[in-house]
Each structure stands twice: as C-alpha cells, then as structure tokens.
C-alpha cells in the first residue's frame, strides 16, 4: 500500500504518463486522465483513452508490468510508480464522471500556467475510456535534480 501523501498527490491535478511493453520488450506510451485509489488503497485506477493510446492498452493484461509517472505542473514534483496490472476494463459511468472531474481540475491548473486550449485539447479526452487497475510495487522520486531516480519505498 502506498504512502497516503503519495496517494493524495497522484489523485490530484497532476499530469500522468504511462508505459507498457510488448512481448518483445518494445515500450508503448500513453497519457492518463485521472487516477484514484481502489481496494482500500491497495490498488490504483488510472483512466486511459484506448482510442488515443491503443498500443499501451494492447500490452496490458493481468500480471503485465506498468510504469506511471505523475508530475505536478506547477512545481515539477514528480513520482514514478511501478506496478502490476490487476484488471483492464471499459470505463463505467462512474469512471467517466470521475474522469470529467479530473478534466476540470487539470484544465484549471494548466490554463493558469499559460498552457493553451489547443495544447490541452488533444489529449484531455474521454473517448473510448478504459480503467487500468494495478498494484503498485515501487515508488521512485523523479523530481528533476540529483534525487531523481531515488527509490522512495518498496510496496509489500
């Protein structure tokens, strides 16, 4: 189970990027549009548009490894969570509502920083939304600087 402060961070208005890999170990990238705790905080759910990131999701089945990096756009605080997939399911109505709340929050934060609508509109989507449920195994600090890459905790 990840630390409460980290969990609150990833549930906030943070930019989210993900990587999976195929059987040949070729990486695929995607962007997440909202993350929340599940199963009493033992698991995390991250929402992803399959229409936009088909390769990322094609690699993911229960047991597959996943890397997710979360960045606060205003101060570049960054954490990378490594995890193992528990389930990959089409988003429910509740998931969609959750993603829409994330859309509003991140949109407000980014526009306040001067990011334009055009820059946001291309990835802030709910099209063909899927929910990735995963069990965190490691958390790394990746805030730019000398501590980047430091392992913060190893989840049991």
């Amino acid at each position: 189970m990840i630390d409460n402060a980290i969990a609150e961070f990833v549930e906030g208005a943070v930019m989210t990027i993900l990587a999976s890999r195929d059987q040949g170990f070729h990486p695929a990238i995607g962007r997440g549009v909202g993350t929340r705790r599940a199963a009493d905080g033992h698991l995390l759910d991250t929402m992803v548009s399959r229409a936009q990131w088909p390769d990322l999701i094609a690699n993911l089945a229960p047991g597959a490894p996943l890397a997710v990096t979360f960045v606060a756009p205003d101060d570049y605080r960054t954490f990378q969570i490594k995890g193992v997939i528990e389930a990959v399911t089409p988003a429910s109505d509740g998931d969609r509502a959750f993603t829409h709340a994330y859309h509003r929050d991140i949109h407000r934060v980014l526009t306040a920083l001067g990011v334009t609508e055009g820059q946001i509109g291309f990835w802030l989507t709910d099209a063909d939304l899927w929910c990735l449920r995963y069990r965190p195994t490691d958390v790394f600090v990746q805030t730019p600087g000398p501590r980047a890459g430091t392992r913060l905790e190893q989840c049991p």
Partner: protein, 443 residues
Amino acid sequence: MTAVPLQSLHACFEGVIPSIIATVDAAGVPNISYLSHVHYVDEEHVALSNQYFSKTAANVRDRGTAALILVDGRSGRQYRLDIAFVSSSREGELFDRMSDHLSAMSARQGMSDIMALRSADLYRVLRCEAVPAVGVNEEAPPAPPDAAARLAAAARLAGALAREADADAMIDLALNSLHRDFGFPHLMVLIPDEGGARLTVIASRGYETPGTGAEVAVGEGVAGTVAATLRPLRLADMSRGRRYAEAARAERPLPRAAIPYPGLGDPLSQMAAPMIGRGELTGVLLAEAAARFAFTRADEDALGLVAGQLGAALALHDLAAEGATAQKPAGTGIRGPCIRIRYFPFDDSIFIGEDYLIRGISGRLLHHFLRLHLDEGRSDFTNRELRVDPRLRLPEVKDNLETRLILLRRRLEEHEAPLRLLRPERGRIRLEIGGTPEIEVVT
C-alpha cells in the same frame, strides 16, 4: 496511423511542451519519464539531452531502443516515435547548442550545475506517426515556413551587405531588410564594450524609442548569453516562465545607464546570433516578438547568416577605414551658445547639460574630439590618428573603432544634441558643433 516526415515537426522541437520517453529494462520493466528537450538533427535523427534520467540511460544502454512522444507546441498535436541509439557525444556543435538551451532554461532555478548537460545522445528514428486526435476539431496544420526561401533571402541580403561600403549604412540595410522582408517585428544590434562586460544598443527597429546607447549585461538574457557563448540561441515560447524565466527576464538596463532599454517588456519569442569578425565578437543581432513561435529554425539560421556577414564586414571595415592623411587644423571659429559638457574619466561617461549621453570608448572619443576642438580649433579627424593617439588608450589588436564611432554618431543624432559627427569620407570624422563647448572634467 500513417508515417509523418520528421522534418515536418518543427514545432515539436522547440522545447515548449515536454516530450515523453519510455524504455524497458533487462527484466522487462518499463520506465517512463519526461524529457526537457528533443533536438532535431536531420531527417532521420534526433538528439536527446542526457542530464540525470539515469534509469532511461541505463535501459537504452541495455536495449538500444526507446519510444518517444513529441508534442507540437503550436497545435497540441502529438507524435509517437520509435528510436534507436546511435552514439553519445560530450563535445561538438550539437552538444554546445543543446547545452546553451538547457542553461537558458535552468538558470533561474539555480540548477545550472545540477542540470548541466552530461552528453548529447544521437538516435535514429525508426518510425514516426501522429497520435490519433480524438474529439478535437482538426484544423489544417499551419503551412510550414519555407526554409529554403528564408535562407535564399538571407544569402541575398548577405551579398548586398558585402557590396555596401559604409559600415553605418550596412547596419541600416541589415535591420531594414530583416524588418521589412523577413517580417521580424523587433530587432536590435548591440556591440560589446572594451571590457566585455556590457552590450550597448547601437541600432534598433520596431520599438517606441530606438534606445541607442542603452546597455545590457553580457551573460544575461538572450543577447547577453549569445555574447558570452558566441553561439546563436532561440527561445520559442517564453510564457512558461518557470523554464525560461532567466532568459525571459529580458535584457534589463544596467543601473548606471539612463537610456531606456528599447526591448519588449514581455517577449514570448526571442532569438539572437553573434556577429563575429576576425575571430572576435563585434556585436549581437537580436530579434524578438510578442507572439510565441514567431521564429523558426530557418529564421534562426537566416539571422545567423546575416549576423555573420555583418560581423565580418564591420571587422573588415575597421581594417580598411584608416583614412588617407592626417588632417590639417580646420580653423573653424568657435562661437555660438555655450554647451556645457561634463566628462567623468572613471567610466568615460559624458553628460550634455544634465543629460547622460554615452560612456565607454565612445565617450572617451567624444571628449577627445571636443578637447582638440577647443585646444587646436580642429573639427576634422581620421581613424588612423585616433588609433595611434595614446591618450585614447584604444586596444591594440581589436579596437572596434568604427562601431564606437557609429554608436556615437547615432546617439548624438537621437539625443538631438547640439553636436553632430559627420563622416565626409571613409576613415574621416568631422565634428559639427552648434555652439562653444565648455568641458568640466569630474573626478
């Protein structure tokens, strides 16, 4: 997804929106990280800055491949690339350019040392495709600027500059053409002082006031950084203050100088190129704009070409403009109203009445002209006699005398001073005075 030519992705290489890199380690665990900057190298290669993303670097060493997402800063469009590692370099032009860009971005955070570039890593692009845009009104992408036409225009301008015999006119020709034909909205030429600590505006276009004589510090801002590194620099979107704040602080006037700096208060785009002649910095050519993405890589190359020609031409002009023979006393009578001049030897600054005029070598030259005018009744001088006069203490090797004279002439004219410098012919200077100077030396 269809293949996209790498060279069509100009706006992805501006470092405006961070890129993303994913790798896989030997055990099959993926890693994902933001990248501050991906540099376009050629149609098949990109370069990544290796600062501190050590897990990424280790994975690339293991497996040799990575996936990238690039974002077009103008449109927001995303592109996915598969890349294969080619080589890593710690020196050379690519390394230097990437290092300059990184310094400009990281200086404000006081992280210059920590974020120093370790190496410039070259990758071959195996695949480049657009990420599907979902639920977004796809507008036609803006037509990419015609790079070849830009460079052709710059080459024509360089040719015209080479044919221009007069250094003063050469500067005007360059600025007028860049302003009118290239559409660069705000431009200035700055020249270094003798100590190499300051840059002084010698000419400008597109500002409310020309600001001739205004000063900025070497090492600060885009112009100051270019003067320090002797390499061109271009920043495409300075609105994200965090990353560009140091450069975006815009060249601020130094405290002593009373001439308002003409530059934009809040430029979103800036680029500058060094003017180099005979291996030395003769000036900096700066262009800026209020809009983001005002300048492309081709614009930067064009500016560099023009700056190079201007720098070489000014240096050559300095060599040639010796003036034929020493000048006889002109014997013009001194009359008219009194013009009160104050001269401060400690920094060679000159005040006319209460108004600051100029300092440095240009100030020393004006004091010299006025002194000889009062003592010997002279109004005509030659470059040659100035060079050998020990009182002027001009540097022996590279005095940039011609540009100092241009600066002085322009500043007097802009200030509407009761003094004018005329250039009756190459290598000659004539002082025209609308009164009787009275010089007070303030020590």
